[in-house]
């Protein structure tokens, strides 16, 4: 019974409300519902491809890939170079610390540190490195999203490192290294041909989920992002809440398309991953 009950509960409590809200957004986006709707139309979908939505999607994708890629790169480097230090228990526990800090607080700290009137800028002015705060490089609310990336790295790098350390231990990569090196493999081959593929296979689903999570980030880009282009969640919410009530169906269209693109991408990637594992 429990076997049947759990999937049923999951469907009723999670999937059904999700399906209903996506369905409602879909109807809203084509004028099927809505207080100001004037009948069915595809015009709001057409409005999506005038630029703002595409820019935001690409920008969000960039932020997501750069955040996940950066965190992965840092975590792998730390794993391979500093692994022995992490074996001490206290250091290992320290890695959990950033996970306990709410994202909005991280964003706020980054703003305090790196904004034009932030701590670093003031130090630079006082030490005579720059003449005024205007000369301080734009690190938050900047075109490349550096502030957002820094916040994401701070939150996720330690978590990736924790997962990698566990994967390393559970897959006995130390022993693999010893065996391979006794068989004459050099350290580059061991790292890239043996250990990395094993680690990546374990980390892959998590990596994909984090990319999706970063794409939908809201509070960090709200505080640290620039006014244009905006991350997709910020844009959708702003469209929903702007002065123009005619923008509401456009916001719903964005939400539907964004959800569809995410669902299709995740399903495809996870299917690929599973079929690879099967081989």
């Amino acid at each position: 019974m429990a076997k049947k009950l759990i999937p049923l509960l999951f469907t009723v409590l999670c999937l059904l409300p999700l399906g209903l809200s996506i369905g409602y957004s879909f109807l809203y986006s084509i004028g099927g519902v809505g207080l100001l709707s004037e009948g069915l139309t595809l015009q709001h979908w057409g409005d999506l491809f005038r630029g703002e939505f595409l820019h935001s999607m690409l920008y969000s994708l960039w932020i997501a890939l750069a955040s996940a890629g950066g965190a992965l790169g840092l975590a792998l480097t730390a794993l391979f170079t500093l692994r022995h230090h992490f074996q001490s228990n206290s250091f290992y526990r320290l890695l959990f610390l950033p996970l306990t800090i709410p994202p909005i607080v991280v964003a706020f700290v980054i703003l305090q540190m790196y904004s034009g009137s932030g701590i670093l800028s003031r130090l630079a002015v006082q030490s005579g490195l720059i003449d005024g705060s205007q000369q301080f490089p734009a690190l938050v609310q900047d075109p490349y999203g550096i502030g957002i990336l820094l916040a994401h790295l701070f939150i996720v790098f330690p978590f990736f490192l924790l997962v990698l350390l566990n994967l390393y231990q559970n897959n006995r990569l130390d022993e693999i290294e010893r065996v391979a090196s006794s068989l004459g493999a050099d350290s580059t081959t061991i790292r890239f041909k043996l250990q990395l593929p094993i680690l990546m296979r374990g980390l892959f689903p998590l990596l994909i989920l984090y990319i999706i999570f970063f794409m939908g980030a809201y509070e960090i880009p709200l505080l640290l992002g620039q006014s244009s282009p905006q991350m997709i969640s910020v844009l959708i919410l702003e469209k929903l809440q702007r002065f123009n009530l005619g923008d509401i169906p456009v916001a719903y269209s964005m939400a539907v398309w964004y959800a569809a693109i995410c669902i299709i991408t995740i399903s495809y990637l996870l299917m690929m991953h599973r079929s690879k594992e099967a081989i």
């Binding site: 049923l8 469907t11 009137s117 006014s227 929903l240 809440q241 002065f243 123009n244 509401i248």
Partner: protein, 407 residues
């Protein structure tokens, strides 16, 4: 297994549809059909939820320490304040109407012209009710800055609560002679790169509106209904000029602050030489709170700025209309308006006509302590521009993003 799913789904659909379609059976008399004494009696014991912008600690304190206490003492009304403004109010009421709810979670709200316009569009407001409020007799409805909201007749669907004029605030260390019109502003920005910017929110759009109107020889062109030709002509000129200033804006115009709060912060940090406010007395408040430097000054350029009023409205689906009406009547009383107008309380301009007040009140209003850093109210009234129709604001808001921010 699938049978389970299907039965569950049907049950759930029934539950959901059951929840949403329970029409209200209401035989009770509407408050607008009662006499005032009955309204006050009906109000006693009601819990009224008011949605308002809670971004200013002084305003919050005025509400919680004064209004909430007084309506409890005098009328037995429990007033609960929740945070939310403009579009949040609209979207809350809109989803309630869309889902067919019978009672709103909001009873009354603090609104401005563009929200009034949107709420009228979705028929979310209750009224006309203001004719029932005894204190309306003191309200200066003949003043077009109070009796008309964004060129729309108020029609009794909202009660004026306060009246303010847009002001620029500057740091005299950075700005020796504050620019008096748009072209002087262009020159100043050109000579002082990086020290000026425009937020992309309501305040920024109010500045853009003031500049756009001042570019026409006759501000009257923008009064009355929205006119596409006039908008296109003057907004086109406005974007052209602003884009030529843009490289000299803060951060080279690559990004813009998304709220006036952020602008205030940049001004307080010394990154910017100007900030702005929809409330002409805000500079005094902010200095008093220690946020702005002591020597900050507020002013209205000769070319003029928008003066407008803010209002109180009642949700059409409110279950506590008598309580909301009684609360609003208290909030426009001479007592509450006098309290609110004092610079150290809030400094919000009154909507009452001093001439219509009883003599004792007249004297008290006239003896109110003057402003220190904010411009004198009487001197800026000559420089007041009326709010144009809400479509101007909606279009400027969109087009500022399209033609300036996103470029």
């Amino acid at each position: 297994m699938y049978k389970f799913y299907i039965i569950y789904l049907i049950a759930l659909t029934l539950i959901i549809s059951g929840c949403s379609s329970s029409p209200k059976i209401d035989g009770a008399v509407e408050p607008v059909d009662m006499i005032w004494q009955e309204i006050e009696e009906a109000a006693s014991g009601e819990t009224v939820t008011m949605m308002m912008w809670m971004g200013d600690p002084l305003i919050n304190r005025y509400m919680s320490d004064y209004v909430v206490q007084k309506v409890k003492e005098q009328y037995g009304i429990t007033l609960e304040i929740v945070n939310g403004q403009g579009t949040q109010i609209v979207s809350t009421l809109m989803s309630e109407l869309e889902s067919g709810r019978s009672a709103s979670q909001i009873d009354m709200m603090w609104i401005n012209g563009e929200t009034f316009y949107q709420l009228r569009q979705i028929d979310g407001l209750y009224g006309p009710f203001t004719q029932k409020l005894p204190n309306m007799e003191f309200v200066d409805l003949d003043n077009p800055f109070i009796g008309v909201d964004f060129q729309q007749p108020v029609d009794g669907y909202e009660a004026p609560w306060g009246n303010v004029q847009f002001t620029l605030i500057y740091d005299p260390d950075d700005v020796e002679n504050p620019p008096q019109d748009f072209s002087e502003f262009q020159q100043w920005v050109n000579q002082n790169p990086g020290k000026f910017t425009i937020p992309t929110d309501f305040s920024g759009v109010t500045l853009l509106k003031s500049w756009m109107i001042s570019m026409a020889d006759d501000p009257g062109l923008f009064y009355g209904e929205f006119n596409e030709e006039i908008y296109s002509e003057y907004s086109g000129k406005l974007w052209e000029n602003i884009n030529s200033m843009k490289p000299d804006f803060w951060r080279g115009g690559e990004t813009f602050p998304n709220s006036v709060a952020q602008l205030h912060q940049l001004f307080a940090n010394g990154e910017l030489a100007f900030t702005m406010s929809n409330n002409d007395s805000e500079v005094d408040n902010k200095v008093m709170q220690g946020i702005f430097q002591d020597d900050s000054r507020g002013y209205v350029p000769e070319s003029g700025t928008i003066q407008n009023s803010h209002f109180l409205g009642i949700a059409r689906l409110s279950d506590n209309k008598a309580g909301a009406m009684t609360t609003i009547n208290f909030m426009i009383s001479p007592d509450a308006q006098f309290q609110k107008m004092q610079p150290e309380v809030w400094g919000d301009g009154t909507v009452l006509s001093i001439d219509k007040l009883p003599d004792s009140w007249k004297q008290r209003f006239q003896d109110m302590p003057g402003r220190i850093r904010a411009p004198d109210r009487e001197s800026i009234t000559d420089r007041a521009l009326m709010e144009p129709a809400p479509e101007y604001m909606i279009r400027l808001f969109e087009d500022f993003r399209t033609f300036v921010v996103n470029q």
